[in-house]
Amino acid sequence: MQSASSGILGQGSPEDVSPLRYTGVISGMQAQTITHSAEETIAFGRELAGEILPPLLVLLSGDLGAGKTTLIKGIAEGFGAAHAEDVTSPTFTLVHEYRGPKITLFHIDLYRIDTERELETLALDDLIAPNCILLVEWGEKFPQLLRDKNLQIDLQRVSDQERKIRLS
């Protein structure tokens, strides 16, 4: 492996990357809830959108099929950034951007990203702006993101339809 490339995306060497900093505020949500269908998970996401303010780094954790993308469908709808049907998995495309009237959501999937250096080259720092919320799937793999997150959402499959959602 060669050393980090720089320039094409305007990113510097890893040493130049400042720590991610976010100042968002969350209030008024129940710390734990159970949803009984994908529709309820989406509705929970819509409700959550009413409680969070940018800039914000949100990590979503849960196994394959736990409902991470489903919840983001609701959050995107809550901000008027996208219709639920149009929010799809960014596993291959890595970053999806949804622009609402006031807020821009970045839906990021780190399923295929395995090392810190690969993460740095995604330049998540560059995505954060005062009106931006980053929703990161599989972000718990990285200590830096765990440290800098403002909100973690754990999704757990209880049964075919039921999901336990925990905010911390």
Binding site: Q2, A4, S5, I8, L9, D63, L64, G65, T69, T70, G80, H83, E85, D86, T88, S89, T91, F92, T93, L94, V95, H96, E97, Y111, R112, I113, D114, R117, E118, T121, L122
Partner: protein
């Protein structure tokens, strides 16, 4: 523009491609530097690797494409490049290079949508046989889209009448392959393994989502209501179902053993993979593929009837799947619908399809200014 010879450049994802195509029909060269080998240890496309590999490959790939075509920078009539959708950093490599060529050579620059390219990949071989409207299924790792395509005086228009609500079909193939420790890229491996298993062994359900167009965000959208049903796909559920099956059937140990065995082989062949697959795994793979292919075919043919199209096109990386080709051919024949696929070389990402899609734009003088840029989420219309 004597004969419409276009140099096409494609860097939207994991292939660096350059091609020279004459008159949207004759492929003079089609060079692809695949990065799959570079990505294999990571089980997927890694963006920084992708950008760096594109940077390394772009100049030699373009030179080789020109040399094989017997053309030169001076002799081509226009430069065409993929604008999106794709990885922003990867797209920028191709776009920057194409802009520089266009500027230095004083040749027109044409921006092409990657998805439009996949549709035109089929026209390279079958242009004379197309009757319109055409229904095109573009199915790959990042996309599962249905478009009704029409053309009027070389102006192509596309209407999206269906897409995946969650995972693309190729993503499901790759995630299932990774889940079962079969290797990367998952699609071709599953394609080769599936004939060895029983496709009826495991029953999977895929949700059906035929619905009126419900997108009604904002007043502008309300005034522009489109009629007609949408035929959406959903492949997140089957991925989860495979995971559940692995758990309930206690397959973890055999998967771990396979992962360990294949990790010891530098470049596992399909025979190597087959040796470490038991009957249960092969049956699961065959059943998964059968379910995926049948769902893609059923929804696409239902859409073909709804929109009364004259021709069916299936393109994108998953269109290389053998069972998919057989199933679509059989089902389309039942309704007397001609169906066309790109050749295997043109199924996956390549630049010949970009040069081909650019030809009607060249005829219309549909050029882009130097300030155009990559659009990672570019929609096809």
């Amino acid at each position: 523009m004597p004969d419409g010879t276009i140099l096409g450049i494609e860097t939207s994802c994991d292939e660096t491609g350059a091609a020279v195509v004459r008159a949207g029909r004759d492929i003079l060269s089609n060079v692809v530097a695949s990065q799959i080998a570079a990505h294999q240890p990571f089980g997927g496309v890694v963006p920084e690797l992708a950008s760096r590999e594109h940077l390394r490959a772009i100049v030699p790939v373009v030179r080789q494409a020109l040399a094989e075509a017997g053309e030169s920078y001076a002799s081509v009539d226009a430069i065409a490049v993929t604008q999106g959708p794709g990885l922003a950093g990867a797209l920028l490599v191709g776009i920057s290079f194409a802009k520089a060529l266009s500027f230095a050579l004083d040749k027109p620059l044409i921006a092409v949508n990657h998805l439009e390219g996949h549709i035109h990949a089929v026209l390279l071989d079958h242009r004379q046989e197309m009757n319109f409207p055409v229904l095109a299924l573009v199915v790959s790792g990042g996309h599962t889209h249905l478009y009704v395509a029409e053309v009027d005086a070389n102006l192509w228009s596309y209407r999206n009448i269906g897409h995946t609500r969650d995972d693309a079909a190729g993503e499901a193939f790759d995630k299932v392959a990774k889940l079962l420790a079969l290797g990367y890229p998952g699609g071709p491996i599953i394609d080769r393994l599936a004939p060895q298993g029983d496709p009826l062994a495991v029953k999977f359900q895929i949700s059906q989502m035929k619905h009126p167009d419900r997108r009604n965000f904002g007043k502008a959208a309300e005034q522009n209501v489109q009629t007609g049903l949408h035929f959406d796909f959903s492949y997140s559920g089957i991925k989860t179902a495979v995971l559940r099956y692995v758990e309930t059937q206690n397959m973890k140990a055999s998967i771990d053993a396979r992962r360990a065995a294949l990790a010891g082989i530098a470049e596992p062949t399909i025979e190597d993979v087959l040796k470490v697959c038991d009957r249960q795994t092969l049956d699961l793979v065959a059943s998964f593929q059968r379910t995926m292919v049948n769902d893609l075919a059923a929804k696409t043919l239902a859409a073909a009837q709804e929109y009364d199209v004259q021709t069916l096109i299936v393109s994108g990386g998953v269109a290389a799947n053998q069972e998919l080709r057989l199933t679509f051919t059989r089902e389309a024949n039942k309704c007397d619908l001609p169906v066309f696929f790109p050749s295997s070389m043109l199924s996956t990402d390549n630049a010949a399809m970009i040069a081909a899609a650019a030809y009607p734009k060249l005829l219309r003088h549909d050029f882009v200014a130097m300030n155009f840029s990559a659009e990672a989420g570019l929609a096809l219309r």
